[in-house]
Each structure stands twice: as C-alpha cells, then as structure tokens.
Symmetry: C2
Subunit: 239 residues, 2 copies
Amino acid sequence: MQIFYDPDISTNGGFLNEEEAKHCVKVLRHKPGDKIFVIDGKGSRFHCEIAETSSKTCRLTILDTEKAPAVEGKCHIAIAPTKSNDRFEWFLEKSTEIGIDKITPLLCKQSERKRIKIPRLERVLTAATKQSLRLWKPDITELTDIKDFLNSDHQEKYKFIAHCEGKDRKELFNELQKRDNHEDVLILIGPEGDFTKEEIETALSKGFQPVSLGKNRLRTETAGIAACMAIQLTSSYYK
Amino acid sequence: MQIFYDPDISTNGGFLNEEEAKHCVKVLRHKPGDKIFVIDGKGSRFHCEIAETSSKTCRLTILDTEKAPAVEGKCHIAIAPTKSNDRFEWFLEKSTEIGIDKITPLLCKQSERKRIKIPRLERVLTAATKQSLRLWKPDITELTDIKDFLNSDHQEKYKFIAHCEGKDRKELFNELQKRDNHEDVLILIGPEGDFTKEEIETALSKGFQPVSLGKNRLRTETAGIAACMAIQLTSSYYK
C-alpha cells in the first residue's frame, strides 16, 4: 500500500497537502474508496480511505492510527555539506535508512559548500523516510556556522568531534559502548579539509570528545554513515 | 604526493601502464625528477622518481617500498547489483573506504540487473583505493549465478545470508562477536525483491546462517555497507 507524507494530516480535516494530493490523484490515479497510508513524520502512521478527490485536493477518512514511540538514544550528526550535492544527498538518504534523528549542516572554515537548499534536502529525507518505512522523519536545520553551533547548548549527553589528526583520539565505537541505551549522542563531522585546530580546540573546551572513526581515511559523507552505524550498533536494539 | 595504480609496476622495468602514464605526463604534467607513489593493489606502495617520459610512456625508478601485510579476517560480500548503476558504484566506493576484500556480483532470480561492466567497476574500485590510501585493492569477480555460487566451495569460516523475512534470523552484528579476529567472513546480500525461498533454503543447506541487518528496512546497497561496517567493527582493530 502506498505511503504519503503530510505532517498536518491529523489536524487539518484530512486534506492531504497539495503536492501529495496531486501525486495521489493525478499521477497514481487513486479514487474514492482506495486505501493509502499517510505518515506525519512524528511517529504516527494513518491508515486512510480516500473520501473525495478533485484535481488539486484529496480528502481522507482516517480509519486507524499506528504510533511508534519516540526514539530513545537519539542520533544527531552535525556535518559539513560536501561540495558535491549528490554525495550529501546520498548521506541523508543512507543515514535515514540506517537511523538518524537530526542533521545540522555545518559551515566550517574549510567548508567547500557554503550554501544549501533546505527544501531539496527535505524532499530527500521525506523520500528516504517513506522508502524505509520509518515513522519518524529526521529533522534538518539550516546551515549553521560551527562557531555558533559550539556556543549553543546541546542536550546530548555524549558529544564527539571526529577528526583526522592527533593522538588523543579514541575510537568512537569503543567510547559508545559506555553509554546507556537511552542516552542521546551528538557527533561533529568536518569538511574534506578537516576541522581547523581552532575549531577542534573550541569543541574540546565545550566538552566534545575527540574521536577516530576507524583505521581508514573516510570521505565526509562516508564518515557520517560510519558514525551513524556505530551509534545504531550500540543502541538498545542490540542489547 | 600523487598516487598511481599499476599492478605490474615492480615486474615490468618500472614502466607505468599506458593509461596512468598518459594521465601522469599529459594531464598532470609531471617531469623527470618528480616524485610519485605507485600502488600495486597487492599490499605494496612504491615511492618512485620519474626517470624518463614520452607522450605515451613514463619510466620510473623505485626509491623505496612500503608493504602492508595481508588483511586478516577478510570481508567478502556477494551482492546482487542494483538496477541503478550509480547506486552499485556508490556501494563499491563506500565499501572500499570502510574495508572490503572481495565483491562477487550475484545474479539472482529477482535480480533487476542482469549485466554489469567489470572494467567500469574496476575503475571505481581503483579510484576508491587510491583516494582512501589503501594498499590492497578489493577484488571483484564476474557476475555469478547464485546457484553456481552456492554450489562452489567457500573458504570463509563464517557464512551468512541477509534477508528480510523469517523468525530464524539472528542479528549479523551479534553473530560476528563470536568470531576470532582473523577468521574470514562471507555474506550474501539479495536484490531489492529479496532472495527467493528456494535460494534461501539452498544457502541454509550449504551452511549459510540467516541474518538480519538491524531493525530497519535497507536498500540493497545500504545493506551491503551496513554489513561491511558490522564486519569492520568486529575486526581485530577494535579488540
């Protein structure tokens, strides 16, 4: 059964948003009586029947609702968008499949990409959420300067900065073994040119632990996925 | 310093193969006296000085050699190529960065891609090997029918088949905790439509253990990378 996304479906009288309505009615040619799923990206999946359609609208009756509890032990990755949009979109898609809750695109000194298009990235996250049958859609924030990001408060108990140099680094995977299942994790992944010494020192002064992501050199988007996997494999599901 | 790839460089009198020679001399404009690295993809990295160049040739003097020992606890993934070439090439690139030793493209009943171009895929593996500073280049075989693959002998001690249904499946990551660092692993990853019941039964009869790759539904190429990461995180590096 097909899945549509509308964050407001349970509060707007059952009217599917315009984009999904057009896709539902004009492209997929659904009719009154057809059954579909709608997710709101906030844990609920509504089993619906199409009540009424027009060229731009689609009104649904909600038959029943499935709710997934909020994720415990959230994964927040703050990552410098890559120069190649494809690579960054690939990271968003894969991390959604594997399990991620929040992405903060970071603007760093060595960043190769200084502008991003959030609507486009939201579409990638929505498509990946539907495709992997998830009920929680990852959040993505606006591009954030790393200095401002480090100066803000972060609720995550475990905070890491992954970078390429330095003997003080521990292995992320080993450090994650120490956490309780429900404790949230935040990790910073730098641009291809890595974080600057100053950025690393500021992060350390704010309580971020320096970590390595294994013995190999990884591209930025691969580092993001590796961090995601390490966080998932040390979550409650595996305990 | 730039890295070139030539599997025969140590046995052919120092003549870089034609493709790399042209790239070195015509594109990158290297001259006699310049220093470069050449990897043979079989564990050696040669620090070389360019002795002589012409429009099609580049002769090197090997100054010194660095050797990496053979990987212990090899990772072999037999995976059905995806319909999208891009997605399969992403898998090859990412698995090379993370750590993989052998790829067998599989032809299954539900396969969406029944033909692949090995030279193209070899280029992807070569580029990823250079980019991630690896000294061992992953092997890739020709497209192999899964029936023939299951009928062959496999030297790997740990053999798994990842699929989407069934209560008998254990978690790959948990099963991998049992292995010794130096024991090789082979895992089968099916096409988007999954393996057929018959393919799974045949694999089980040949000693493959049925496994899951976590709680989420993953695309084929993501499953390949998830398996790769699970295998790396349970390797000797983390013990």
